[in-house]
């Protein structure tokens, strides 16, 4: 039986009772296997820890320290087990239980919406990514069944105008009117999850599936069509998540993350699929969703209490996967489906800022972990998400307790009384759990010469891994610092505000911005270093990786945003040989400058914007009066006189904007605010000086006459 026949046979088997029974048995075996290996490793680690602590004597501090160690070590061993099993799966080369086995190119497609929720994003990126997928599907001749929706929650008036013009421009360039849609909510209720829910309410019945993309997501037409075919073949699948590869990074930080993710994630992904199977997770983008069960089961409840831990659900993806599973649908992970990509934050500061939001969202998942009727595997996903951030304060507490215990031992002059053999084995074990997946990933890559060459060859890969490991060692304490801060603030009922805006250049973020945010880290690092030295120089050596990370936080954060360093290292296949969809450069024909001003003055911007506004059916005197007063102030005092909120209100009234357009253009400069006169001059063509003179005009007229006659 060849590959295609085997695939067809597999497709026939899906849904049969015999197959289902065998499948469930196999999945149960796998899950038990993962649990046993994880617990086995953890028990060995704990036993060694007991030996070490027991030799020093049990104290309340030691008990607490060991308890925390057990939790953190189990989490670490679970990750390692997953990576190890993933390595075995990939080494074997044939995974029988993966959803992509059921892919059949002959399967017919079905109506699918490609949705991209956006919030004050760069319009060229958003519409460029949509355009790449649109063209890719058109080249495949499969465009008919797809509709594209850019779902904007943008609150910045200039961004809102830019998006409208970008939409009309992309439609004009691709003849996409009626296929590419744009909708902006005036009130971004419930943020991204509310945005997608609003789409479902408005157009949920138009499509069988929706492919959800982030603003920086790129997918190939082949990948999207494969997802639709997989959905058609697997009617119980509610969500199929792809494994997006990180791309388009330019900075040192971005390229290191991109390289690390590309190299290490395949074994983790294969391992994840190995045990979760149809009980997978959803990451919020680069995934396909069956709309009808989503409508029926994925309405997000309000959480008890107020934000940050209560109120609206911020991070909806894990929850939607859990709710989908509750409703009886499966959530699959198409980890080996090519053609799914996403961008990433350019530097450490932006990465941390993103973590600030994700941390709050993941901590909210505690409510769903404690809810009724959530399936056990979904609870594991939720706990993993919570631990991704809350493990940082636990680790800090673990280190603090260890430091206190070491201090007490120092006072009692008990240093050196612990069993060295157990300590050495535990140390090696921890190193294996931490760095083993990297080694396994290297082994996997070196067994595939073609793939190795696509990474730039063995020397570059090895150098890249060494430097990436050093970089991750130095950045880990910075992340632990911030994650601890975020978690503690959220638990205390507060959110973390970011004081500075990081301005990037090729030389990285500005030093002053970095110092303003990172100065406490080296101060704390120096203080802890002094305490560690007092305890014992050997203790200082033991904790030096953490202290070095804290001490060097400022230069590392600045360096992370540089563009011109290490260009020959950290190469990925997508960087060296990017697929067509990533090379596509979409150039929007938009004007530079304040887009809100263009919405008033540019005749095309104004016409497009005004014609897209719905006319108010009824007139409300108070609203009309407010809009008129805003328009009056805007005209008299210039564009800077209105707040963003007032500008948004004005943008919502097409008629007034049309009137303002005419008013400004026809008012002499001396009778209006000078800002408008300056703004109008922007529209002067650079060719103005070469306009034909009267004699030339008459000559032209004369030459036209015979033809006209």
């Amino acid at each position: 039986m060849n590959g295609k026949d085997r695939s067809k046979r597999f497709v026939e088997l899906v849904g049969s009772a015999t197959f289902e029974e065998a499948f469930q048995r196999k999945v149960r075996q796998r899950r038990w296997g993962v649990a046993l290996v994880t617990v086995g490793i953890s028990v060995v680690g704990l036993w060694l820890m007991f030996d070490i602590v027991g030799a020093r004597g049990w104290t309340p501090l030691a008990v607490a320290e060991t308890g925390l160690f057990g939790l953190l070590f189990t989490s670490l061993s679970f990750g390692f087990t997953q990576a190890f099993l993933g390595y075995l799966v990939l080494a074997e080369g044939q995974e029988r239980l993966k959803i992509t086995n059921t892919l059949d190119e002959d399967t017919t497609l079905a109506s699918t919406a490609v949705v991209m929720p956006v919030f004050n994003e760069n319009a060229e990126t958003v519409f460029g990514n949509i355009c790449a997928l649109y063209n890719s599907l058109r080249e495949r001749g499969e465009l008919d069944l797809y509709d594209f929706y850019i779902l904007s929650d943008s609150t910045d008036p200039a961004k809102a105008v830019e998006e409208e013009l970008a939409w009309s421009d992309i439609c004009r360039q691709t003849s996409g009117f009626g296929k590419i849609h744009y909708r902006r909510r005036k009130l971004p209720v419930n943020r991204k999850s509310g945005n997608v829910a609003d789409f479902c309410r408005r157009w949920g019945h138009r499509h069988r599936y929706m492919v959800v993309l982030d603003a920086d997501s790129v997918m190939t037409g082949a990948a999207v069509s494969s997802l639709v075919r997989l959905m058609e073949t697997n009617p119980r699948a509610g969500i199929i998540q792809t494994m997006p590869r990180l791309v388009k990074a330019e900075t040192v930080f971005g390229r290191i993350q991109q390289f690390a993710s590309r190299l290490y994630s395949p074994i983790f992904a294969a391992g994840l699929n190995f045990w979760q199977q149809g009980a997978g997770n959803y990451w919020g983008h680069n995934a396909i969703i069956r709309v009808s069960p989503f409508l029926a089961s994925c309405g997000l409840p309000a959480l008890p209490g107020r934000e940050p831990l209560g109120g609206r659900v911020l991070s909806h993806d894990f929850v939607e996967a859990a709710l989908m599973r509750n409703a009886g649908s499966e959530v699959w992970f198409a980890y080996d489906l090519d053609g799914s990509y996403e961008g990433l934050p350019p530097n450490l500061t932006e990465y941390v800022k993103r973590d600030r939001r994700w941390c709050q969202g993941n901590l909210q998942h505690m409510w769903f972990f404690l809810a009724q009727n959530i399936r056990p595997i979904s609870r594991i996903h939720l706990v993993q998400g919570i631990l991704a951030y809350s493990s940082a304060p636990l680790l800090v507490l673990f280190l603090l307790l260890g430091a206190f215990q070491a201090g007490i031992d120092h006072l009692r002059e008990k240093i050196g009384t612990f069993p060295a053999a157990s300590a050495a084995v535990l140390f090696l074990m921890t190193l294996t759990l931490l760095f083993g997946p990297k080694v396994l990933s290297l082994l996997h890559l070196f067994s595939r010469p073609k793939e190795l060459a696509a990474f730039g060859g063995p020397v570059r890969v090895l150098l890249g891994v060494i430097l990436e490991t050093l970089f991750s060692i130095f950045t880990a304490p910075v992340l632990i610092w911030f994650h601890t801060r975020f978690v503690l603030r959220n638990i205390a009922g507060k959110t973390v505000t970011w004081h500075t805006q990081t301005r990037d250049g090729r030389a990285g973020p500005r030093w002053l911005d970095i110092i303003a945010e990172y100065w406490p880290l080296p101060v704390v690092g120096a203080g802890l270093g002094a305490v560690a030295w007092w305890i014992a120089p050997s203790y200082l050596a033991w904790v030096s990786p953490i202290l070095l990370g804290l001490l060097l936080a400022i230069p590392i954060a600045q360096f992370s945003g540089r563009v011109d360093s290490f260009r020959q290292l950290f190469l990925t296949p997508e960087e060296l040989q990017p697929p067509g969809e990533l090379c596509a450069r979409f150039k929007l024909q938009l004007r530079d400058g304040d887009q809100f001003v263009h919405a008033l003055l540019d005749p095309f911007y104004n016409a497009v914007h005004v014609s897209l506004q719905r006319r108010r059916e009824t007139s409300a005197p108070c609203v009309d009066g407010y809009i008129v007063s805003l328009a009056d102030r805007l005209f008299k005092e210039g564009p800077e006189s209105l707040t963003p909120q007032q500008k948004r209100a004005l943008l919502g009234d097409g008629e007034t904007l049309g009137r303002l357009h005419n008013l400004i253009w026809k008012t002499p400069s001396g009778l209006m605010n000078p800002a408008w006169a300056r703004a109008l001059a922007q529209y002067r063509s650079s060719r103005r000086g070469v306009r034909p003179q009267p004699e030339a005009i008459e000559a032209m007229l004369a030459s036209e006459r015979p033809a006209a006659a």
Partner: protein, 193 residues
């Protein structure tokens, strides 16, 4: 087309000699530039005929600024040139907007198609008349309703515990004092065990 060079020259001299009309001339040219109107005979004709009528109106409306008069006349001229691209049912107050939308949709590297609409095929003209700029399709309403969160018994216990502890967490100083006290107690108990 009976416009003599002398007349054009006179008109231009007249426009340039008066600051008010010069500003109007520049403003209208800026507007046509913003509309991406190419340098062509049609542009000049629109300009000249608009100013001719505006100057005539100025005699009757001496207090109306020249810029306003010229802009009104240009709008009328544009409307006259583009009216055939719009469906007759479009109300007057929307027509100018719709005409600009048509110019935007048909704009190419040479600029807008003002004066070149005769080159458009009947099929394109028909399509342009049917255009209605609509960013999103018509609604096909569905409902997505959230079910309330039902906590397990452990969850309820946790919530009640959290409710009791929340005053501590909400008070920064109290939180630190209690956290440090627990830590201190652990250290103390370990030190004097």
């Amino acid at each position: 087309m009976a416009i003599s060079p002398e007349y054009i020259a006179l008109l231009r001299v007249g426009i340039r000699s008066s600051p008010e009309w010069k500003e109007a001339w520049d403003r209208i040219n800026d507007y046509l530039d913003a509309l991406k109107t190419p340098e062509s005979i049609d542009r000049e004709l629109i300009l000249l005929s608009s100013f001719e009528r505006a100057i005539a109106r100025k005699r009757q409306e001496p207090f109306t600024p020249a810029t306003e008069l010229a802009f009104d006349e240009v709008q009328k001229n544009l409307d006259h040139s583009l009216r055939h691209l719009i469906d007759q049912g479009v109300p007057d107050d929307c027509r100018l907007i719709e005409e600009r939308v048509r110019l935007y949709l048909t704009e190419n590297v040479d600029g807008n198609i003002l004066g070149r609409t005769a080159e458009l095929s009947e099929e394109v003209l028909h399509a342009l008349r049917d255009v209605k700029l609509q960013a999103a399709p018509n609604l096909q309403v569905a409902s997505i309703t959230a079910r309330p969160l039902e906590l397990s018994s452990a969850g309820k216990g946790f919530v009640s515990l959290a409710a009791k502890l929340s005053p501590i967490g909400a008070n920064r100083i109290l939180g630190w004092v209690i956290g440090l006290a627990i830590l201190g107690l652990l250290v103390f108990a370990s030190l004097y065990r």
